[in-house]
Amino acid sequence: MATAASENPKTRLRDLGLDREDAVQMYRDMLVTRGIEERGHILFRQGKIPGSFYTGRGNEGAAVGVSFASKPQDHLGPLQRDMGVHIQRGLEPWRVFAQYMGRVGGPTKGRDGNVHIGDIKLGIVGMVSHLPAMLPVGVGLALSYKIKGERDRCAFAWSGDGASARGDFHEGVNMAAVRKLPVVFIMDNNQWAYSTPGNLGYNTEHPSDRAKGYGIENVVVDGTDALAVYEAVAAAREKAVNGGGPTIVECVTLRMEGHAVHDDASYVPKEDFETWAAKDPIERTRRFLLDSGMTEDEDEEIRSGVKRFLVEQLEKAEASPEPDPSTAATGVYASPEELDTPHH
């Protein structure tokens, strides 16, 4: 796996072109991300979330790290473990809670649920269930930049370790490789696809080794290290926008909960949970910040700030109304005016 160039906190940040504020921002985004999903669990148990409930525990560092490496003009197609992307791009947490509960304040206004979040104003496409169908869509976004001659714009398209077995992955990555499109492929390798372990999904050492079949590079990075993820993705982005073609950046983590709320993940060896719990991305970033000068008090302030923030946000979400039933089957087709609204 790629490791960070420097282990000294301060020089490491400097090497990455970041300052401490950036690292604190990442830390905060990770805390917000986890906080949202932890509260989601409670809401689910309270019966306030209909349907099912998915989280990305263990993947907060990777999600935030990737997103931090994107630029405002980029488009991203994150998936079910990537709440951190939405948060880092600026989605207000109350809108996530509202989405969970099917309220009008959610990005899909109650029309879609749980992690199916998109807000084109933040550059986020809005995943469908079918995996990894958003990947070719990301390739199309990259194609649009290329045709328009937009030189510093990049698309980010995700796939899980499991979903990389699907045809969409192949066709999308291949087309991007052939045309050297400005897209970075992120592979969330959390070692499981629902109950299916990696060795029943792919036959290479790393799932991102699929890259070799497309004549492109892959980079395997410890997904619990947000800065390492940032570094790898920033480099891949740089390469992509300079005509070097796509890279697959694989972020290795462990899915720290079941596939969804109903799944106790008893098929995952206990020891694995222990090992990976010790590498918790949030704790890791916290320690990095402490090593680079953050005091325990400052940390406490950040954490309690996030907590307070989420309490407010949740209240705001609960105040968001249920959708108007009479709108249920409206808005199936767009009208021409909507095309002229300034897009992202």
């Binding site: 349907g51 079918h130 029943l200 959708p323």
Partner: protein, 324 residues
């Protein structure tokens, strides 16, 4: 007879047939040790081993394509889609290869695709769809949709023995909600034979899958108003038992087609058009359709209820038609 859930009946059908015929095997995502997303195949890998209950990569096309190949190789594959919605990813293989191979090449393709389908529990646009109307439009495929535990078992066994690709729609909302008596042993329920779920004299409701229960619930309430509704459970829509429709509609002369698939272009349209063509003179009023509105299935319970057909919608339609 044992009382069991719809889900248990499907499992039992699978297990029985796998015991009887070693050519039968299951393939799909998470069907093995995990027992499938809905636990329909729970325990089967233990009994039949890793190869006869095969965990595949996340690859709907390969699952269906491999099932077609294995059928050609003399096996009796039962492929699971984790949700019926994901069959869109195998659409090409089912319609291009599985459906047409016998017509073209004369080689039967005995395979089953299990499709946990339907809405009513905030599954949202991608975990709630019915797909029956699409497939019933494809020559070469059979489309079967049991509504009761007894049929669920018998039709699963029939599906496995059928020499054609059979799309077996299991309604998720029936899995644990619907219980009933299920005969012991290895019986099969023939395709193309509808079942009168409730006898009645005034109006026929034609339904299948979960909508049979919606129809009978409505019928019970309407009985109190003095409207005597006959509910026909089609069980399979390809093949279609049009004789049963003719018998019932000739008796009642009024008819509603109730289906959970999207209204426009759904299979209820076909049934209505057939009635038009063949039973026009027996009708004392237009055939009405009650179906899912023409939109994706929304996540919010408030919205979903509007979009999917409810008992009240059926009651309203019956009252209107009754007054015609």
């Amino acid at each position: 007879m044992a009382v069991m859930t719809y889900l248990q009946a499907i499992s039992e059908g699978l297990r029985d047939e796998m015991r009887r015929d070693e050519r039968v095997f299951i393939l799909g995502e998470d069907v093995g040790q995990y027992g499938g997303a809905f636990k329909v195949t729970a325990g089967l890998q233990e009994e039949f081993g890793e190869w006869r209950v095969l965990d595949t990569p996340l690859s709907e096309t390969a699952i269906v394509g491999a099932a077609t190949g294995a059928a050609l190789g003399g096996m009796r594959p039962v492929a699971e889609m984790q949700f019926a919605d994901f069959v869109s990813c195998a659409w090409d293989h089912l319609t291009t290869v599985s459906a047409k191979q016998y017509y073209r090449m004369g080689t039967p393709i005995p395979m089953v695709v299990r499709l946990p389908c339907g809405g009513g529990f905030s599954g949202g646009p991608f975990h709630s769809q019915m797909y029956d109307g699409y497939f019933a439009h494809v020559p070469g495929l059979k489309v079967v949709l049991p509504a009761t535990p007894e049929d669920a078992k018998g039709m699963m066994i029939e599906a496995i023995r059928d020499p054609n690709p059979v799309l077996f729609f299991e309604h998720k909302n029936l899995y644990r909600r619907i219980k009933g008596e299920v005969p012991e042993g290895n019986y099969s329920t023939p395709f193309g034979k509808a079942r009168v779920a409730r006898e009645g004299a005034d109006i026929t409701i034609i339904a299948w899958s979960a909508m049979v229960h919606t129809a009978t619930d409505a019928a019970e309430q309407l009985a109190k108003e003095g409207i005597d509704v006959e509910v026909l459970d089609m069980r399979t829509i390809s093949p279609l038992d049009f004789d049963a429709i003719a018998t019932s509609v000739t008796k009642t002369s009024k008819c509603i087609v109730l289906y959970e698939d999207t209204r426009t272009g759904g299979f209820g349209a076909e049934i209505s058009a057939r009635i038009m063509e063949e039973l026009f003179e027996t009708l004392d009023g237009p055939v009405k359709r009650v179906a899912t509105l023409d939109s994706p299935i929304p996540f919010s319970p408030v919205l979903e209820k509007v979009v999917l057909p409810q008992v009240e919608d059926v009651i309203t339609a019956v009252r209107e038609l009754s007054a015609y």
